[in-house]
Assembly symmetry: C2
Homo-oligomer: 340 residues x 2
DNA sequence: TTGTAAGCGTTATCAT
DNA sequence: ATGATAACGCTTACAA
């Protein structure tokens, strides 16, 4: 029932080859011919069969998005930004979510579902293992990492080390000397994951404050980048070290959990405790959470652009560093003096 | 370089037809033959070309997800639930997001990108216009609506009318008589959108309280289901009617905006003002927001299951109503007495 | 600039 | 239960 390419060809009085060329905007078609073909196609409401053209051409005009989450702030926004850019360029988006299972570990990337299906892959906020990386490369299509990616590969991400360090500096500048951390827990512990890099950055911040902060007084707990994880980590931190004046969570979502725990315990923010996060979550303003903000959907868009450029044969540099912005809010204040 | 079906056929010593049958688990294949084929396929790391099999079979093993957002709570969770279910069933997910543009209106659904590409469509939290509905039906594939859908179509959603009514009842039961509403604003104003149905439900709740609440004392403002919209609406509400004791936002995200505005104005919650939302947003607990909660990812999973069943030829009922749960939190309290 | 015709890699029909 | 073979609907050399 749906019109096929030879219906259009017949109607326009040309060959199917010409229809194909005209519809795809290839150069070697006479203007008059093209008009005629376009007209005929429109009249028949013709759309080329994607499977047929993929089979014949060898490419799918589809980009795979591999992500461990859709609902989390960073991933949702990156996906949104990437989708918009890809669709605008006429590409489809195949969503491949690898949810965490009950044991907090996630399914491995299944490259078989991507094989022959996509022209390129965007890996969103997902530290991949060596085997997964090999599998992804085995796909033989452009590969771009957003949020974090192995060095040497094309990636767009914030400066995790720098951002984390700056946060510590902000706290130190406000007189905080007893700072607890809620770090992220990477699923696959690779050295380039945000969890690890933010930890390193914080470390660097502390190192710079070596003269004022005791090396042994830098308590750390782990939340797994989730609200509940952050809450539990905060609980452990507070139990262990009642003298803290600030908690630095390595993501806003964990910081939310920290705030919840503090509220439950009647610890006032910022009077008794300053709290900082990283990310720039939309709802940070609601609870007055100071943070180091990044633009997630912007990174998604850039990542998408990069795959498209690689597809077009352009040589793209391996690293796009995205800027962060310090967003001071009421959750962080100068440490109260002993007299206060 | 990648193995094709005749490579497998040759290696297993059978015809390509048998390989195809064996690999797809069709019944009429001898056990021994199947084993041999499976073995050969595994050795060659063979995966059937999706485009080729789509072209030959006429179906794509792909479901389209049409949504106006990825980053909003409801949509993100529905997508997550649906994706998981679809992938488990061996289906791919094509993400089609229709972002809002600057003018707050959204792009129309472009059915051409879905044509011949998907075996079924899941419309997520999107009130579609008559034309869009016609276009979607024109696809000729199973169509399921999650979150809200036109009557008579297959849909899974919460009881918006009932939930909204129950919220009003909860407030009335706590003595509130001056209740302001922040309603949602549907992009396409269809009678079955959550915005409209929640408004109707609230209306019904007020009607039941007719003897205690003046008909003319039910102020309403509109936020567009966003935090900022909710905040602006709350501002208008408060300016207009300083005597309110409760604000009922028709979504948690708008309620967050209401809370932010109240805090800015120094209005204490719940001492001076009770606030309620609808949805069960993950971060509601953080700010103590009482709400009528629904299970978004569950609805996504059910929606996915329905498309799959329709694909399998099952007759599915047109309506799956999803239960809601009242979640009392500290943002709602009995109205303070005049003496209080 | 346009047409002819050979793929592209499966599935499905019809025999056997 | 298995094999031949004709679709499936397009793209792309190669010719003209």
């Amino acid at each position: 029932m749906a019109a096929r390419i030879d219906d259009v060809a017949r109607r326009a009085g040309v060959s199917t080859a010409t229809v194909s060329r005209a519809l795809r905007g290839l150069p070697s078609v006479a203007a008059a011919t093209r008009t005629r073909v376009l007209q005929a196609a429109a009249e028949l409401d013709y759309i080329a069969s994607p499977s047929a053209s993929s089979l014949a051409s060898g490419h799918t005009r589809t980009i795979g998005l591999v992500t461990p989450s859709v609902s989390r702030w960073f991933h949702g926004h990156v996906i949104e930004g990437a989708e918009r850019t890809l669709r605008a360029a006429g590409f489809d988006v195949l969503l491949h979510a690898l949810m965490l299972d009950a044991s907090m570990s996630r399914a491995s990337i299944d490259p078989t579902v991507l094989r022959r299906r996509v022209d390129g892959v965007l890996v969103v906020g997902l530290p991949v293992s060596e085997e997964e990386l090999a599998a992804l490369e085995g796909l033989g299509v452009p590969l771009v990492f957003v949020g974090a990616g192995p060095p040497g590969h094309v990636r767009v991400h914030m400066d995790d080390v720098g951002a984390a360090r700056m946060v510590v500096e902000e706290l130190v500048a406000r007189g905080h000397r007893r700072i607890g951390q809620v770090q992220g827990t990477p699923t696959h512990s690779v050295p380039w994951s945000p969890a690890v890099e933010r930890a390193q950055g914080a470390e660097a911040g502390f190192a710079a404050a070596d003269t004022v902060i005791d090396r042994d007084d830098r308590p750390v707990e782990h939340g797994d980048f989730s609200v509940e994880g952050g809450r539990a980590a905060a609980a452990r931190l507070l139990d262990r070290d009642p003298g803290l004046t600030a908690v630095y969570a390595h993501s806003d979502e964990m910081a939310f959990g920290v705030l919840a725990e503090l509220e439950d315990r009647g610890v006032r923010v910022p009077e008794d405790m300053s709290v900082v996060g990283i990310d720039g979550h939309d709802l940070g303003g609601l609870v007055g959470l100071a943070t180091m903000a990044q633009d997630a959907s912007g990174q998604g868009a850039v990542g998408a652009t990069l795959v498209l450029e690689m597809l077009a044969g352009a040589a793209v540099g391996p690293d796009v560093l995205y800027p962060v912005t310090w967003v001071p809010r009421r959750s962080v204040a100068p440490v109260r003096t002993a007299a206060g």
